[in-house]
């Protein structure tokens, strides 16, 4: 039934955007973690969105049905190296490795994700309202 598909579509987008908010929270929380080697340093995680295509039989064009998170990738930027011999995490030369999280990027991502989430809620509310009015047709 047509109208109910909007709930699936907007719901999938809301779930994808909340995954994005989750990774942002994780990145910001780990913005100041340090490690004793570049490999162990925290790397910023970013979700990759992908359109879900629904090739139902008889459809003229492939219909898309929302969005999903295809995966979460770690960014490849090199972690910054700091000389801090007093730090318990320092390696034998006295260096520590910071996470490669860029707090400005993360905050921008957070705003973008929350705005997208809001527009999807708006779409959902509109279609819910229309459905409720359709139910009371002829009264």
């Amino acid at each position: 039934m047509g109208m109910f598909r909007i709930f699936d579509i907007s719901g999938s987008a809301m779930s994808a955007q909340s995954v994005r908010l989750n990774t942002t929270a994780s990145n910001l929380a780990n913005a100041n973690t340090v490690a004793s080697s570049p490999d162990a340093a925290y790397r910023s995680r970013q979700p990759v969105f992908q359109t879900v295509m629904n090739n139902s039989a008889g459809a003229a064009a492939p219909e898309s049905a929302g969005v999903r998170v295809a995966g979460v990738v770690e960014t490849s930027a090199e972690p910054a190296r700091l000389y801090d011999p007093g730090n318990p995490m320092a390696d034998k030369d006295g260096y520590i490795y910071m996470s490669n999280v860029n707090p400005v990027d993360e905050l921008v991502n957070m705003i973008s994700a929350s705005r997208s989430y809001q527009s999807n809620v708006e779409v959902l509310n509109t279609s819910k309202e229309l459905l409720m009015r359709t139910l009371s047709i002829g009264q």
Partner: protein, 134 residues
């Protein structure tokens, strides 16, 4: 003039179907506003209504003697979605413009509600006729 309930209610029912299809596409666009490479799609309401109204190839066909007569029954309420031409290209290939989508959703929702109101009024008047004004 014979009163045919199907033809009475048909036009607005079709308009509802097309508005619904358009809302679905627009919801899809909003959902994929952050998906790289996604191409926004939309349907033209006027063309969709015209092709639904003319009956053309969209209507149901009786291909056997056993089939019921389908006069006055709406064909499938579908229109072919087209890709939207973006106002300005974006680096990730996404052509969704949130402002346009929101405006289109508001417009379609008003159209939907208008059709609902008309349909309600028609049903009310038919009921009035059936009850003989009592």
């Amino acid at each position: 003039m014979a009163l045919n309930i199907n033809t009475q209610l048909d036009l607005n029912a079709r308009a509802l179907g097309i508005a619904n299809q358009r809302l679905e596409l627009l919801a899809d666009n909003v959902a994929n506003a952050d998906t790289p490479g996604y191409k926004a799609r939309d349907i033209d309401f006027r063309t969709a209504m015209q092709s639904a109204g003319s009956g053309g190839d969209l209507g149901l066909k009786a291909t056997s003697k056993g089939h019921m007569q389908l006069d006055g029954i709406a064909g499938p309420n579908t229109a072919t979605p087209m890709y939207r031409v973006p106002d300005q290209p974006s680096l990730d290939g996404n052509t969704v413009d949130s402002q346009r989508e929101n405006a289109a959703i508001a417009e379609t929702s008003v159209r939907y509600q208008a059709s609902l109101t008309f349909l309600s009024a028609q049903i009310r008047s038919l009921r009035e006729a059936i009850n003989g004004g009592r």
